[in-house]
């Protein structure tokens, strides 16, 4: 059957929905100030903050909605919210 029998679906499909398009403000990560405490990665409601090879946080802008929680909760004030330019 072409559609998922019984309204079922396989995992991974929500990734097709790029919620980054919702963003009005964009978090910019100032790595010089970052202590790699991991707070931003823990609390992000999208779970879309990864880390680079140095263990510094890197957001996935495909999904980041720009809610600003990471910037608000960052103990080092290492995330700045900038108006999105589209």
């Amino acid at each position: 059957m072409a559609i998922g029998t019984g309204c079922s679906a396989r995992p991974g499909k929500s990734r097709n929905n790029k919620t980054g398009s919702w963003r009005v403000f964009r978090p910019e990560f100032v790595h010089e100030k970052c202590t790699s405490c991991g707070m931003c990665r823990i609390i992000c409601p999208e779970g879309c903050i990864g880390e680079n090879e140095e263990g510094l946080p890197v957001p996935d802008y495909d999904y980041c909605k720009g809610c600003g929680l990471c910037a608000e909760e960052c103990p080092s004030e290492a995330i700045e919210m900038k108006k999105e330019e589209k």
Partner: protein
Amino acid sequence: MLEITEGSHAVADAVGKCRPQVIAAYPITPQTHIVEALAEMVANCEIDAEYITVESEFSALSACLGASAAGSRVYSATTSQGLALMFEVCFNCAGMRLPVVMSIVNRALGAPLSIWNDQQDSISLRDSGWLQLYAEDNQEATDLHYLAYRVSEDHSILLPSFVCFDGFILSHTYEPVDTLTKEQADSYLPPFKPFQRLDAADPISFGLFAAPDYYMEFRYEIDQAAKKALSVIPKAGREFGELFGRDYSGLVEGYRMDDADCALVAMGSICGTVKDAIDEMRDAGKKVGLLKIRSFRPFPAEEVKKALSGVSRVAVLDKNISLGSKGAVALEIRDALYGSQTPVYDYIIALGGRDVRKKDIARVVSLAEEGKGDLFYGLRDEVLK
């Protein structure tokens, strides 16, 4: 093995031999004897099932839904108010394509409160996506449970089933019933193979919501599956007949229909009375036959049309009423006969357990001959004044 047993106990015996892995049920008259009997089987380790004593029928079917989705064969039984309480879950089971099988011990719906038989309860779930099979006697009620599991669990169907039989008239009546042995049951009904299940090793999301871009397609597929059952039920019924000598290949079944002038149409235990009445009428020279509807959902319109093609009038006995309209069976028959000139008369009969005798059937035939139909049969005078 032929045994004289109460209908409920014969059904419970068959259900046990269908090897349900999870049973969830709630007591309600006249269904209770079934789930009591099953509880006893579990207590004595005669069947290997988890038995959940839920706090309501709503939870009974919800628990069945969960257990079915997790990969178990499930069973519940209910009637009337209990089925009404399950309404929402019924639509869910069908929509989620879970092959739940449930006995419906048909009973009237309140108000007024009535514990007695009619078929308003299951008929009111007509549009839910459940297959609905109706039994004439306890033998058929018993056998249809095996059939229902076979059909529901068929991966081309994956729809839940009601096995409907009349409360008290069948459920509390002792009749001789030929019960299958466990080996016979196993030879007909293979172990449950879920089409898909909740499983951490292979995760799947079940029961997503559908926006307007998908909703209709899901409904279409349920409808397609129900219509597919029009061929799967006869096949499963034929195989049952080949193994055990009782053939259920007919979605409908004719009785003395070959040269019938007037056809009665009915479902459930009333068919027994109708057959006896027909025999008497035949003896008196009246060409009357019966078309018994075994499968109400899916509705076998083609078979009905074919079976009724030679008659000059049809009298439908409806143990239900779509208030403000007609009996549900009559509406189906009229639809099936659309375009033909055969008149279809509807008789709302035996609601809330009112007894029907052979002479009532003869009277209905006379009314049809007089062209009088679409009425409640046998009402007290005070409401007609």
